[in-house]
């Protein structure tokens, strides 16, 4: 990272942050390698796979070159990234993020499990011990991280190209921070950006570095070619974004790039470097639909539908999408109408049709019927004809089904079809079995075998694992990946973070990193550009070249941001729009973009601030954190609206009103975060979402969800470990979210998250584990033999939605209140008056002693994912831990005599009551860390009307005792002449029930008051892990 830092620093900090965020969150194996290599390389021993995400997020630590992190935002970023970084650096183990930390633990556990399935309990105990050790390390790491953080403001910014939702969240947080520190940010030197994009930008801007480029060709859906030169280390996302820009395509999440690989076509992983996926030069790809929208009419733009039509015409003509004669005729007639317009007897002689191919075996009879029908479509516009085409095509039974050849356990040739609803098994053309996503508990592959573990049928007790034999291991992995992606895209609200280094030697960490359908729908709802003009290239004329110019800066802007047009013109706005683009897309697509503009003027600065806000929102919308799911989405919408309004204001110039709105917006998120905390418990209770979605499987799923807690606690099996990991992941996300939500309050939000992370990390990471992880990391290479994925967790998320909605109401109310308050403050103390707020957030965790417990608790707090995962686990347990192979379940189910994946689950560990479990082992270490960061923004003068606030100082003090962890954030900001000092304390009380939480809380508040007599306590949030109750006082 250090190496890149210099060059990338100039790029907008925001961008970098975003990028870093993405990088951080991208758990994908690729990310670590590609982007964070610099930092990770020294530690690469650990292996690229697991560390990547962690590295990314915490990339900064190593980059000590830059030492400007006074802002609060940094505080947040510090926490997360530094930990990760430090852990890495200090302990070879990957303690990077909570997720990572967990993962390391998991790998150990899993290994143990693998080695001894029966000795799960032992493993559990070991894990605990490890966790404690880890905790210690974490703490140390935290300290170190903080230090490092100071140096590297936003270490996470390293990987811009990767655009994981998680990352985005982080970015939001950063963005928030930046807002505070806008001036600072502008001046700040960017953090290290390892991403090629960033580099590209730099080059474009500064041309300081020369980059090796690789020529690259993409065959577009209309048959034309798009060529470009890519930086050698470019990720798939960079190319994909370039292509989408070229196509003027905004709803791009349904699409992907395919490349040929040993006679098989594979999807280019956007988060990985291209060169690591495509072995052969030249780079040639085809642009294709990856996820077929089940209801194309819900697409926002005609241009998206047009590309979908092109894909379907290909599919139909090639026979991939079988149609009956009648349907060929009907679809063909719509194609003619769309491409030729109304039938014209003079122009359209009998030959015109033979230039089109409607079917694999096109007959004269068919062509005649097509013409007949074409005549009846008179008056239909091209867009209408496309819509009609899609309405009919979507009903085809094989629409959106990705077929993979396989053999069942008896060696019979079958096909596995992956689709939006699940996995379909075909024999010849007949569907002989179907596994809806809710029914699938786990998807895995080992060598050339692909396994699914399915929920027991209604009257059955045992889960069954069904195995399929694929031609080779690559095919098995490809199928597995497709399953993971489809499940995530169609079933989840937000992507799941990739697991980190679960297995010592085996295991793909791959996870879908793009937007889910839910997210992309939300995002596309925000598209409000005028319908872009595009020319329908006739399907008969394949060689036609697109009229679109290469990537133009202006064009890019337009494409990228909904408000692009407007933004382009006004400098401030323009910068804003650019930012949006970046956020929305998560990418910095074109190096050509001029991020510099943003910083140049004061006005730009304002924009910058603005951008910060906007960014978070967009990110939320597009890449909502998995845990918060719908609430966030809705919130995001709201926030977007607000932001939009704010943008308008900004055009006029920063006005007090602007500020007010701005602040209010920020406050909302904070409250939202609070709500989130409470949510988890609810979520736990209402797990059976699958029922809603799947009427078939309701019974099975329903029961499982209820028992979450117990199950979670008791399971120490590998699965459990995984769950924990996931939970940790969720935690991370959550933390991020919180940070994002509480823009103003960034510190508090971040603190809790950090603390949690620390705990979880500690629990999960044991020294031994870490070492193992490092060793295991090497296995992450693309050649992994094994991969596991548990879709079920996700399914549970659905449930969450409902609950969240309820919460939303609360949130809204709170938001309003907050907003008003904030506004008042601002107005009341227009100038020179200081607003002092002390936010005391006390997190009381009753039983956090055991590592596991802590992890779980943390999960409870915010992590929906965790909940889900746990739920799954519970279900497993409920059903019977012993994996069972049921041959009888379905008539044609292929049973595998040896359940490959089952092993893991067979291990059952005794602790049933996690909460009860109080480990005395708590680390007695008392650590106190004080960080003071002072930063002066380039434009400290309040005179700059655009300044949202300049961060004067930010201080973070963390002290830990046996039972409590106190994190204090002191932030001083100047906004338009008004200085504001905010002190936020987060106190985490961990311990047995013996501890009098009330007393501890009272003590904490008392201390806070004593320490800051001239300040008022504005808010106390108590979150009890044991109880679901959440109290707020203001």
């Amino acid at each position: 990272m250090t190496t890149e830092v210099g060059s990338e620093s100039e790029v907008n900090k925001q961008d970098e942050q975003i990028g870093s965020d993405t990088a951080q969150e991208k758990p994908d194996e690729e990310a670590p390698e590609s982007q964070q290599n610099p930092s990770s390389e020294p530690e690469e021993v650990k292996s690229p796979t697991s560390p990547p995400a962690a590295v990314v997020s915490k990339s900064s630590p190593r980059s000590q070159k830059k030492e400007k992190d006074p802002s609060e935002s940094r505080g947040i970023s510090r926490f997360i990234p530094p930990w990760l970084k430090k852990q890495k650096s200090y302990t070879l183990v990957e303690v990077k993020d909570g997720v990572e930390r967990k993962e390391p633990a998991e790998p150990l556990l899993e290994e143990a499990a693998v080695e001894k399935d029966e000795s799960a309990a032992e493993e559990g105990s070991m894990a605990r011990g490890d966790a404690e050790e880890v905790l210690e390390r974490k703490r140390q790491g935290v300290r170190a991280d903080e230090k490092e953080e100071k140096h590297s403001v936003s270490s996470a910014e390293t990987q811009p190209a990767k655009e994981d939702s998680k990352e985005i969240e982080v970015a939001k947080v950063e963005g928030i921070q930046e807002e505070k520190q806008e001036g600072e940010a502008a001046k700040r030197e960017t953090k290290e950006v390892q991403t090629t994009e960033l580099k590209a930008e730099k080059t474009a801007q500064k041309a300081s570095k020369k980059i090796k480029t690789v020529p690259c060709k993409v065959i577009l859906l209309d048959g034309t070619e798009y060529s470009c030169d890519l930086e050698k280390r470019a990720t798939g996302q960079i190319l994909f974004d370039k292509v989408c820009e070229q196509l003027n395509l905004l709803e791009k999440d349904y699409f992907g790039l395919l490349f040929q690989e040993n006679d098989q076509k594979s999807w280019l992983d956007p988060s990985k470097e291209i060169k690591k996926q495509v072995r052969n030069l030249p780079w040639i790809f085809t642009f294709n639909v990856k996820f077929y929208p089940p209801d194309p009419s819900q697409l926002t733009e005609d241009i998206t539908r047009y590309f979908l039509c092109l894909q379907l015409r290909q599919d139909i003509a090639s026979g991939r999408l079988p149609c009956s004669f009648v349907t060929h005729v009907l679809l063909g007639s719509y194609t003619l109408q769309a491409e030729l317009g109304d039938y014209d007897p003079e122009e359209h002689n009998s030959d015109y049709i033979s230039e089109f191919q409607f079917a694999p075996n096109q007959t004269k009879e068919m062509e005649e019927k097509v013409i007949e029908l074409h005549k009846t479509h008179r008056g239909l516009s091209p867009a209408q004809a496309d819509s009609q085409f899609l309405e009919n095509a979507k009903r085809l039974s094989m629409y959106g089904v990705d077929l993979h050849h396989a053999k069942d356990s008896e060696g019979v040739d079958i096909k596995l079809g992956v689709c939006a609803n699940g996995l379909l098994i075909y024999k010849d053309r007949l569907r002989i079995n179907r596994f809806a996503w809710p029914k699938i508990l786990k998807i895995s592959y080992k060598r050339s075998n692909f396994y699914i573990k399915v929920r027991p049928a209604e009257l059955e007790q045992f889960e069954s694992t069904i195995g399929f034999k694929l031609p080779n291991h690559r095919a098995a992995k490809r199928l597995w990946k497709v399953c993971v992606e489809h499940h995530t895209f169609y079933r989840l609200v937000s992507p799941e973070q990739p697991p980190k280094a679960k297995f010592l030697t085996l295991g793909s960490k791959f996870r879908y990193s793009g937007r889910t359908q839910a997210q992309t729908r939300q995002a596309s709802n925000l598209i409000d550009r005028p319908a872009p003009y595009f020319e329908r290239t006739s399907s008969k004329r394949v060689s036609r070249s697109l009229d679109g110019a290469p990537v133009g800066v202006v064009d890019q802007k337009d494409f990228s941001g909904p408000a692009g047009d407007v933004s382009v013109y006004g400098p401030g706005i323009a910068s804003h729009s650019m930012f949006q683009d970046g956020d929305g897309r998560r990418e910095f697509r074109s190096p050509t973009k001029t991020p510099q503009l943003q910083f140049t003027t004061e006005g730009k600065r304002k924009d910058h601030l603005f951008k910060m806000d906007i960014l978070p929102v967009k990110e939320k919308q597009q890449i909502p954190a998995a845990p918060i799911v719908e609430e966030k989405a809705q919130e995001m919408d709201k926030s977007l609206e607000e932001e939009i309004t704010s943008i308008l204001f900004s055009k006029e110039g920063f006005s007090a009103s602007m500020k007010a709105t701005f602040t209010s917006t920020s406050t909302r998120p904070a409250e939202g975060s609070v709500v989130n905390y409470s949510v988890p418990s609810e979520m736990l209770s209402s797990s059976p979402f699958s029922q809603l979605l799947e009427k078939r499987a309701p019974t099975a799923e329903g029961p499982c969800s209820g028992a979450n807690d117990t199950v979670k606690s008791s399971h120490e099996t590998l699965n459990v470990v995984e769950a924990k990991k996931q939970a940790e992941v969720g935690k991370e996300e959550r933390v991020i979210t919180e940070g994002v939500n509480g823009r103003d309050k960034v510190p508090p939000g971040s603190d809790p998250g950090e603390t949690r992370k620390v705990e979880s990390l500690a629990h999960k990471d044991s020294p031994s584990l870490s070492s193992e992880n490092s060793s295991s990391s090497s296995s992450d290479s693309e050649e992994e033999d094994v991969g596991e994925y548990r879709p079920h967790h996700r399914v549970t998320e659905g449930t969450i939605r409902e609950e969240q909605e309820e919460n939303e109401e609360e949130l809204e109310e709170e938001k309003e209140e907050w907003a008003s308050k904030v506004v008042q403050c601002v107005e009341a103390v227009p100038e020179a008056s200081s607003v002092k707020q002390i936010t005391v957030e006390t997190v009381v965790q009753e039983n956090v002693v055991s590592q596991k417990v802590s992890g779980e608790k943390s999960l409870k707090e915010g992590d929906e994912q965790d909940m889900r995962e746990e739920t799954e686990e519970e279900q497993h347990r409920v059903n019977g831990e012993v994996s069972h192979v049921d041959i009888d379940v379905l008539p044609e189910i292929i049973c595998c005599s040896e359940p490959p994946v089952v092993k893991t689950e067979m291990v059952t560990i005794s602790d049933a009551s996690q909460r009860t479990e109080i480990s005395t082992k708590e680390v007695p270490i008392v650590q106190t860390e004080t960080k003071t960061i002072t930063y002066e923004s380039p434009q400290i003068d309040g005179g700059a009307g655009g300044d949202a606030g300049t961060l004067l100082t930010a201080q973070t003090i963390t002290s830990e005792s046996v039972s409590t962890t106190t994190t204090t954030h002191i932030t001083k900001t100047v906004k338009g002449g008004v200085s504001e000092t905010r002190i936020e304390k987060r106190i985490v009380i961990t311990g047995d029930a013996d501890i009098d939480h009330d007393q501890a809380l009272a003590q904490a508040i008392k201390e806070a008051k004593e320490q800051h007599p001239d300040m008022a306590v504005t808010r106390v949030v108590v979150h009890k892990e044991t109880g679901i109750t959440e109290e707020e006082e203001e």
């Binding site: 009956s324 349907t327 179907r434």
Partner: protein, 286 residues
Amino acid sequence: MGTPGEGLGRCSHALIRGVPGSLGREGEGVAVDLPPLDLAKAQREHGVLGGKLRQRLGLQLLELPPEEQLPFGPLLGDIAVVHGDTALITRPWSPARRPEVDGVRKTLQDLGLRIMEIKDENATLDGTDVLFTGREFFVGLSKWTNHRGAEIVADTFRDFAVSTVPVSGPSHLRGFCGMGGPRTVVAGSSEAAQKAVRAMAALTDHPYASLTLPDDAAADCLFLRSGLPGASPFLLHRGSGDLPNSQEVLQKLPDVTLVPVSCSELEKAGAGLSSLCLVLSTRPHS
């Protein structure tokens, strides 16, 4: 393709075939253990059925003449699978019944349907093993229908998912289940019926309601839309004379006009409502 579900049961014509005197007699190459049959009653029932199709449902009724050498000719539901403008002429499991296809094919062809035939000699398919739900096909793998036969159904109706359902017991798939509405599957209460319904539920992408009837045979009903698009659809079903226990449950079906008929005597020859008539629409897409 039409609109899924809403096209279910749309019909303008009904095709039946008269009951020959040979139906009640054993031998004739059709060695089946059938109870003695009252031929006159069977023919009466058949006549009543035709009358209801024509007058009650308003369908244009085409009646093929009985042929003595084709004792099971009246069960022409086994001979063809018709959907939309396409008719798949089956290859009945019983070699003795295969000559039945000729007359049916010609009639359907004359009606303007696209005729598909099974040329694979390894394939066997009885039309009453095929259930069309409006959205997809289920093909029962019974003693009469094999995988290859089902595959040809899939090949013929490519727009639709075609799933196979194992059928245990002495019945065709349609012998114990049918459609009670666009989204409603009715099924008998026998173990075989319930097992098949569960299998179908697992195989489908679409949500169906399911109605369980006390009698398997009562589920062998026909959901028909013969009138104008807005008119209430009909459910042709076995009446109280045949299956008194199932009548009450059938009343639960919403939005259908129940048309009871009796075929208890024909049932002795293995017939059911789904096998006694073929319904089709000559303008499937209108």
